[in-house]
Amino acid sequence: MRLFRIFLLHFQSIAQHRTRSLVWFLLSLFNPFMLLLFWTASAKDNQLGIDLTVISTYYLLLVLGGSTLMAHQEEDVAVMDIQKGALVKYLLRPIPYYFMRFSEEMHYRILQGGYGIVAIIILSNIFQISLKFVSDPLFLVLALVSCVLAYLLSFTYKMLLGILAFWLIETRAIFEFAEVVTLILCGFLVPLDLLPSWLKLVAQLTPFPYMIYYPLSALIGQFSLYGLASILAIQACWLGVFFLTYKLVFGAGIKRFTAVGQ
């Protein structure tokens, strides 16, 4: 009950900034649509050999996936919590920092996810975009599990990035670099299948496509049962690696934390 009340309190706070959150959502809406424009226009002029319905569904789902599956708390962790000392208030509470941050971030994702669903319904109707989704209930459940794991993965990854501020004063360049890597390897730019083969191979060896590309493709119904099971297993492995690394890095970093004046 206490956790639920904390959850509701956070949601009240997020709801106060709903217009700002809407602008962030519009920002995440713009890039997928720009790329969708490129592919639909290109398809008129070229023989691309790609299924436009799949591409359109992918980019529309990217609007939703980009706003719900990708966490963005790293700057707050680095600047507000570690550099300006707000971490103190979390350390004094009986709930681990990771979970408090998880709860706070989740509200933004829920709100933006709401915007995303509304946007997908409106845009697919206005622009007459035909969508392709997985129809088998088992596949749908597995795809949704993959989405949950993807969010946990991206959240833990961003926590890891944020706590680098225990050692670094200037984190902006690292965050921007991470953003660029994320945009390319997660599948924000193009679905992995449309990447050059060498880049696709590189991407598959990293955890990034498991945050966006694979869960979204699973929702479209691109994988067999065996393929889906493999994706879930790899996501779980990466999550385990990230979480253990986070525990180790946070444990080492907290010894360096000096509250205000870090």
């Binding site: 602008v23 720009m34 424009l37 226009a41 002029d45």
Partner: protein, 263 residues
């Protein structure tokens, strides 16, 4: 006008002093700027990996367009972006008061006081890369007159994108917490990397509102690529004039609602 020029030269000097005082900040800004420049090149290389031509624009011409865009956007970010980044801070904390009380145009001060020198380096690198790419890969000969004409059109395009950013940033006078509108403009401006067919040839007619943005670099690059300009230059001038006049009016109109920090 001459007085404003003298003030701007002083601002250039002050910003350079700030650069020397915060050298590591300059270094990081340079790194970030080059990173995003690199990203835009990776983007077009990835997209043109499949699409070898786009409504008459060849793969190499699309790459040249991206390089030209980096040259353009480097200048824009160097001259203006930092000011729009600070816009919300000025309004939210009532710092706009001090600008309004100065014997200079407040729009001039709020949109030109900070200069991001690091971006000029991105622009310089992209400029050289564009020249090398055009002459070596596309085997084009560029005359001094063409380059001068290109720079003149770039100047017009800069006024257009400045006006657009100003009009959007002005909304923060009513809602200063919406500082992420500027973040959105960074994304929206990146539409300029593509030719106008991107919005004209899709079934999604709503996106025609972004048509002016697709002119900002495709029109000047057409000069260097020896392509006919058609009506594009006239359209660019038309949209630039319209947006400039609108943004100026909108700024003055918004100032009537400015209530300082207590608002």
């Amino acid at each position: 006008m001459f007085h404003h020029l003298k003030v701007y030269i002083m601002l250039l000097k002050l910003n350079f002093s700030r650069l020397l005082a915060y050298r590591s900040n300059f270094f990081y800004s340079l790194l970030v700027s080059l990173l995003w420049g690199g990203f835009s090149v990776i983007t077009i290389l990835t997209l043109t990996h499949r699409v070898k031509s786009f409504f008459g624009w060849t793969q190499y011409e699309l790459i040249a367009l991206t390089l030209g865009y980096n040259f353009f956007i480097g200048i824009f970010h160097g001259l203006f972006s930092r000011n729009f980044d600070e816009f919300s801070y000025h309004v939210d904390y009532g710092l706009l008061d001090s600008l309004l009380l100065k014997p200079l145009d407040a729009q001039f001060l709020i949109s030109l006081q900070y200069i991001g020198y690091a971006n000029f380096i991105r622009s310089g690198i992209a400029g050289v890369a564009t020249y090398v790419f055009l002459t070596n890969y596309l085997n084009l000969t560029l005359t001094f007159g063409q380059i001068l004409f290109f720079l003149t059109i770039i100047f017009v395009a800069l006024i257009m994108i400045y006006s657009l950013w100003l009009a959007v940033s002005t909304l923060m006078i009513w809602s200063p917490r919406l500082s992420n509108l500027v973040d959105m403009m960074y994304s929206v401006s990146s539409l300029g990397r593509f030719p106008k067919e991107l919005v004209l040839e899709t079934p999604y007619t709503f996106f025609l509102v972004f048509f002016p943005l697709t002119l900002i670099i495709s029109v000047p690059m057409k000069v260097l690529l020896h392509r006919p300009l058609g009506w594009d230059l006239a359209l660019l001038i038309f949209f630039t004039t319209g947006l400039f006049l609108f943004s100026r009016w909108f700024w003055r109109f918004a100032l009537k609602s400015y209530t300082s920090a207590s608002g």
